[in-house]
Symmetry: C2
Subunit: 121 residues, 2 copies
Amino acid sequence: MKKQNELPQCDCTIIHNDIINRVRSEMPRAEHLYDLSELFKSLSDQTRLKILFALSKNEMCVCDIANLLEMSQSAISHQLRVLRNVRLVKYHKVGKVVYYTLDDNHVNELFKQGLDHVAHQ
Amino acid sequence: MKKQNELPQCDCTIIHNDIINRVRSEMPRAEHLYDLSELFKSLSDQTRLKILFALSKNEMCVCDIANLLEMSQSAISHQLRVLRNVRLVKYHKVGKVVYYTLDDNHVNELFKQGLDHVAHQ
DNA sequence: GTTTCATATGAATACTTATTCACATGTTAA
DNA sequence: TTAACATGTGAATAAGTATTCATATGAAAC
């Protein structure tokens, strides 16, 4: 999505170099930024949010989730893979049926902070 | 991005209707889900994450941010609008210069939980 | 083994988005 | 008022993504 050809930069003259240098030294590592953006990206879709909300209430199989959200099994399965990749959900099989649950309670904390923010008007 | 023509649903027979009905009654309102997904969407881009991290360390003008991240002023300005729209940042003008700060500390809490999650391996 | 069924997945497609480019806006200084 | 400059913004474009469709996988039942 990014086009990395030249380096454009800003040609302003009002630059606070002391602040820039200090802040630059305090920036998180690129790897952590990447992981964090991937985590938030997985939370940026309404379907996935619904899935996570549902799983925060109850363990559910793929079929249950599809019926709850009135969406195709395939669509749900694709989205569950995204959530597995960022380790927000885990699953266990019982015969043919795969039951999903939240992987840990970070999701609930993220929801709480997020809803608290959007609720402030 | 979604194609809403028919309603496909899942044709599985293993459906836990009791759970589905109870969870459905506990789902957040569509409006809240939308706001929450917009909030997380704004946190899902590395450029915006860097901007927010920087502002969590210091108030900065647009020019500073562009230089810090080695990106064009225009790109930064576009992204700042996204962050303004979800009220993650606010600003004040001093002459021609616009200084941005975090709007509240929900961002820091979200970062903390997010980094905590990704750090767990 | 064959069928059935729950789930996963690759390719295609419609839609979204991050950046660039060109230019508008608004403020300061001359 | 004109020039200079910091920032904002619309249109265009390249890249990313959510769903569908068709099909694969794998486990249970027959």
